[in-house]
């Protein structure tokens, strides 16, 4: 009754409820999706404007940069679509409304994630796919079954890294009641620095971005695809195996979450 099959069924039941609840705000759905897409558009516009004048950045031209940006954004969208409710998690803990997830027969994390449907992450995902699609035809890569499979694994791996890090950071709130600012800051680091070749940040910068581990989300797999393995100072094999990093990070993060859940204090009243 608590197995994976039941959890999936419970997720569908709860999602059904969330969808019915969301339909009431139809105008907002379109607007937030456009806002999400525009936000990412502005990020890419910066790169585009700079490269319009300067042509390359650390040897990456506009097509290469678009591949990197697209991969990062798709990975971001892939984790944000299912996991966006983590944004409200520390509110639930602070106000004690997390209680309700602990007295129902489904995984608390799954219940949290299916509380409401947010549409702006779909804007991220769609704009990411558009950029990635355009980049795939612009870059000098032979898109065969092997490279496409590698791309897909890299995207999923990137999503697992970002999602895993955010899940682990969120679970701090079980103890401290607050984790929003730390989460936002780390998210900013991924959103800002994940879109550029790590080489431009110098040795110290590359080291920090490898530890966090921003470079594994898109930079390393993109450089593998572009045939210029540049492992940010790490051995080349690390770059090749970077999609696996997501599995490691996500598993570790889920264990952290489970452990921290036992410390939930159910504050509020």
């Amino acid at each position: 009754m608590t197995g994976v099959r039941w959890q999936l069924r419970a997720a569908l039941i709860l999602l059904g409820g969330a969808v019915r609840g969301a339909v009431q705000y139809r105008a907002d759905i379109v607007f937030t999706m456009i806002a999400g897409a525009l936000y990412n558009g502005a990020g890419f516009a910066t790169i585009w404007v700079v490269l319009d004048r300067f042509e390359v950045i650390a040897g990456w031209d506009i097509g290469d940069m678009a591949l990197l940006y697209g991969m990062r954004l798709v990975a971001h969208g892939l984790w944000l679509v299912p996991f966006n409710q983590l944004d409200w998690f520390s509110d639930h803990v602070r106000e004690g409304s997390f209680d309700r997830y602990l007295v129902r027969p489904a995984s608390p994390l799954l219940q949290l994630l299916t509380t409401r449907i947010q549409f702006s992450p779909f804007g991220d995902l769609i704009s990411g796919l558009v950029v990635l699609g355009a980049a795939m035809s612009a870059v000098d890569v032979d898109w065969g079954p092997l490279t496409v499979a590698y791309l897909v694994f890299a995207l999923i791996g990137g999503a697992l890294i970002e999602g895993g890090i955010q899940l682990a950071l969120s679970s701090i709130a079980f103890r401290t009641l607050k984790a929003d600012q730390v989460k936002l800051t780390v998210d900013s680091v991924f959103n800002l620095f994940g879109n550029y070749p790590a080489r431009i940040f110098g040795t110290a910068g590359q080291l920090v971005l490898s530890v966090i581990p921003v470079v594994f989300v898109a930079y390393l797999p993109a450089s593998v695809l572009l045939g210029r393995v540049d492992a940010a100072g790490l051995p080349a094999v690390v770059a090749w195996l970077s999609p696996l990093a997501g599995v490691v990070v996500a598993t570790a993060s889920y264990l952290v979450w489970r452990r921290m859940l036992l410390g939930y204090q159910s504050s509020g009243t």
Binding site: D28, F31, T32, A35, L38, Y39, A42, A45, T46, V49, V50, L51, D52, R53, F54, V56, I57, A58, S120, Q181, L184, T185, S188, V189, L192, F193, Y196, R199, I200, F201, G202, G205
Partner: protein, 255 residues
């Protein structure tokens, strides 16, 4: 005058209750600063000069535009939206200070909190990106003040929408995204493609960040001040008109 000071004092203490959040808000501009400085150094790739702009001019531009953007980010839109939605704006109306002046004082209160915080960021920014000396300090100070006032007007115009719709939703977020680009905070106008530069020059947002920083770097002068003054007069008039109608709505419909 004393009631103005008292009003500002309460607003400042309200802003200070969120001082930890504010401190964290400093991290994001700092990160952006590090990123942009690295990007410009990388694209210059050892060249000392591009189109008459040196690397040190560019890194100074990045530092200053980040600080200016930080100065422009303001809670006023969010605040007005909440006061309107909760109906608390009715209470604000009976205060001895006119409603519009309360908003300007609120924004000034936020600057009063932010400036000491920026004093923390400034040395970090200078160490990481470097800073050249100002070309015209007096003119730069004047232009900064004008830029801040123009930004106040734009924010008050956005906030006024709440009187009609009660909710601004994603609009504020969208504005911050777009304004970062159009104010020149990310890329200076001189490196924009021609058509984009023309479009941006016709909009008021470049007068908030780009103009003062360009004056600091000696790339603009009294001409920039003139454009700023024109925008301030236009937008100021618009604010007075729109807010008068908004207040009329509150008085007639009771919020």
């Amino acid at each position: 005058m004393t009631e103005h000071l008292a009003f500002m004092r309460t607003r400042i203490s309200e802003v200070l209750t969120y001082r930890f959040e504010l401190l964290f808000q400093l991290i994001n501009p700092l990160l952006q600063l590090l990123l942009l400085a690295a990007v410009w150094r990388a694209v210059y790739a050892g060249k000392s000069d591009v189109d008459g702009v040196s690397v040190s001019t560019m890194t100074t531009y990045v530092t200053l535009s980040t600080l200016h953007t930080l100065l422009m980010h303001d809670q006023i839109v969010h605040w007005v939206e909440q006061r309107v939605r909760s109906g608390a704006v009715g209470i604000d109306l009976v205060r001895p200070i006119p409603l519009l002046r309360q908003q300007i004082l609120s924004q000034a209160s936020q600057v009063a909190v932010k400036v000491p915080m920026m004093a923390v960021v400034f040395p970090v920014a200078v160490v990481t990106t470097g800073l050249v000396a100002p070309a015209a300090p007096g003119l730069y100070a004047l232009s900064t003040l004008l830029g801040w006032l123009i930004n106040c007007c734009v924010l008050l115009l956005i906030a006024a929408v709440a009187f009609w719709t009660l909710e601004l939703g994603g609009m504020t977020f969208l504005y911050y995204v777009v304004s970062q680009f159009l104010s020149g905070a990310l890329v200076p106008l001189w490196f924009m493609p021609g058509w984009l530069r023309t479009a941006v020059e016709w909009l008021p947002l470049q007068a908030t960040v780009f103009t003062p920083v360009a004056i600091y770097l000696g790339k603009d002068g009294w001409g920039g001040i003139g454009v700023q003054a024109m925008w301030l007069v236009l937008l100021g008039a618009a604010v007075v008109l729109v807010w008068r109608r908004a207040l009329h709505r509150v008085v007639v419909q009771g919020g």
